[in-house]
């Protein structure tokens, strides 16, 4: 019998509905709802004057909540029983979509890059949209950097924001004290952040998993607190301001240039527009992110990249094959940190002002969420997750106080339906060619 005829037979059988368990289930759900609603909805405190509180009861609301949950649960289960083949169908849709995506990686990538390049010039584009795009790209770059550490080398890092901060402050200090421009400071930011990656790497060489996560979490906090308290150097909570904006090959973006300099708009004979700088910043971070991606994709196919992945799979086997776990781990930390440092340098020049407030734990958590949500080790997944995580709260602005609720629900939804991330597929680093299949 073929699969198709088997399916037809399944559909022709009318699904039976089991009412008793259905009702039991709905009653149980309604009871739980009533139990929860009783203190939360049923009782309301109000001020009766003189600092005393009175209690109003709303048992009618509790009853409505119970009834609503009962009806909703009943309907949900009823539909589930009626259309039982649906979950399998959904999985099939995902599988087909994934398989199609895997075959069309190159066209999808090119289309994505094409769209990103064209974005500032599209008719619906606005300054707000380009700013949002720049923020998304910063997170894409951070996600790609962290992906080296978490996705490839399997080292759970909860303090990644520390390297972002180190990169930003490196530029901030170099600019304030030594008059460095963005382009001069960029390599130093990466280098200093990479050194901090190694500094973090040494004490945690023997740690894995949860233990590593805790130490890296502490490391992230140490950096932030040092920045906050070492006021003579870092400016403490006041941060560092007046960080120079990047120039276009030496041409500044300004309405009026000082003596003997030409501004960008003068050089190209354009009307001055503050949008030029915004668009330029967008392209700078786009180029930086694409370079990060190209580097990561390439290094994955080199011995060091394969060693990272092997280390994630089995450290003991790595040792038995003569791989030095120390250098492999430190290189992963250093390279991941370096990208974080570059992104931090860009962040500093974009904002023009940095303070420890920008480098809190929630940033680390967001970046890690991007990597995990996107699918560990997947470059494309990071892009999707970054767009989702950064733009969702923006689009959610219309919903005001429900914004973070929607954000959280979306994260839960992705993890329920795609437990291994949006894109769980891993492309082998090399194939045996014709012998495959």
């Amino acid at each position: 019998m073929t699969a198709a005829s088997g399916l037809a037979v399944d559909n022709s059988v009318k699904p039976r509905v089991f009412w008793i368990p259905l009702l039991k289930d709905a009653i149980l759900a309604a009871l739980v709802a009533v139990f929860l609603a009783l203190p939360l909805v049923g009782l309301q405190t109000y001020d009766i004057g003189g600092g005393a509180l009175g209690i109003r009861t709303h048992f009618d609301w509790v009853a409505i909540a119970g009834a609503a949950v009962f009806a909703g649960r009943l309907a949900l289960r009823f539909l589930q029983q009626l259309y039982r083949p649906r979950p399998a169908g959904r999985a099939k849709v995902f599988a087909t979509l994934t398989a199609w995506g895997n075959r069309q990686v190159l066209p999808i990538t090119l289309a994505g890059i094409g769209f990103a390049v064209a974005l500032p010039f599209l008719p619906f584009s606005s300054r707000y949209l380009i700013d949002l795009g720049t923020t998304v790209l910063i997170y894409v770059m951070l996600g790609w950097g962290l992906n080296v550490v978490v996705g490839l080398a399997g080292l759970l890092d909860l303090g990644y924001v520390a390297f972002y901060a180190v990169g930003a402050y490196t530029f901030g200090l170099l600019a304030r004290d030594l008059d460095f421009t963005f382009w001069e400071a960029l390599p130093f930011s990466g280098l200093v952040a990479a050194s901090f990656g190694v500094i973090l790497g040494f004490p945690v060489l023997r740690l894995r998993g949860d233990y590593l996560a805790i130490v890296t979490l502490g490391f992230g906090e140490i950096i932030r607190i040092v920045l906050l308290n070492w006021a003579p150097v870092t400016g403490g909570p006041n941060g560092i301001g007046g960080i120079p904006r990047p120039s276009f090959f030496g041409l500044p973006f300004a309405r009026s240039a000082p003596e003997d300099t030409t501004t960008f708009n003068q050089f190209f004979g354009l009307e001055f527009s503050p949008d030029h700088r915004v668009i330029f910043l967008y392209f700078v971070i786009l180029a930086m992110a694409l370079l990060t991606n190209a580097f990561t994709l390439r290094i994955r196919q080199l011995p060091i990249g394969r060693a990272w992945e092997a280390l994630r799979e089995d450290e003991v086997a790595c040792r038995a094959l003569g791989i030095n776990p120390t250098t492999v781990k430190l290189s992963a930390f250093a390279i991941g940190a370096m990208f974080g440092g570059f992104a931090g340098c860009f962040f500093a020049t974009r904002q023009g002002f940095i303070s420890p407030e920008s480098f809190t734990f929630i940033e680390s958590a967001t970046i890690l969420a991007i990597v995990v949500l996107g699918g560990m080790g997947s470059q494309m997944g990071v892009v999707l997750a970054a767009i989702l995580l950064v733009s969702l709260p923006e689009f959610g602005r219309a919903f005001a106080e429900f914004r973070m609720l929607i954000f959280g629900a979306a994260m839960v939804g992705v993890m329920v339906w795609r437990p291994r991330g949006l894109i769980a597929h891993r492309e082998p680093t090399l194939r045996l060619g014709a012998a495959s299949r």
Partner: protein
Amino acid sequence: MTGAGSAVPLLAVENLTMRFGGLVAVDDVSFTAYRGEITAIIGPNGAGKTTVFNCLTGFYRPSAGRLAMHRDAEILQLDRIEGFRIVRRAGIARTFQNIRLFAGMTVLENLIVAQHNPLMKASVFSLAGLLGLPRYRAAERAAVERARHWLDRIGLTDRADWLAAALPYGAQRRLEIARALCTGPALLCLDEPAAGLNPRESAELNQLLLGVRDEQQIGILLIEHDMTVVMGISDHVIVLDYGRKIADGTPAEVRADPEVVKAYLGEDEIEVARDERPFIVAPAKAGVQGRAAGNPGPGFPPSRE
């Protein structure tokens, strides 16, 4: 000793002792292994076999004793080499009792990772690799060719791009052996390579190991419970019991040794082997069953493995 080129041993273990706190897992064990020979280490569960392997491959530092590896007229003291360097310096590769493949990577990638050190050297701190210089590309091609050679030998060429985790158990065992061989070892240490294999797979394994021994002229050190494998292909058998060496010789000599029979079957109740296999009834479980059936006597310690 019976070895072909028995003048210089490949590996000489002298008075190896390994203590964990008060427990002596390996007690004053000495043996030698030769190039082009298969040396089996057998013994009941908890006899200290895997501990010997862990000392040899740098996972443990021995409490006492000398581990000397003879390579190209050079004598290397294994206990003075840092663990992960033993593969490269001394040429000792190993497999594990519970298979340790890189499950999320493909079969081919597993074999390429095993050639990390030569490839890393060719990639010059990844610079030559990043730039795609011919020097690195040639090295990578050579690595793939070597991997393909071993894939052909273990019959997994057509599944080279599968995830290692997707392979059936027997194929995973073979892949782990191939991965160890890809490091180009002088001594291959196999920890229960036949565990969980069916009789046909086990016979194939025998052929593979005999072939590797004769073609590569390397020494093979084998921990095994499957007596068809041990008696069928070993040139030399060492028997451990409670961390001590109780017998050492050819398979025939060891099989006839009353000490060995006692260690396996217990003292009082010597069962007669029920099938045509000359040695032990249910090979994989011999140690456990023998101990459980026999009278263990006073001071019988719990299993140490």
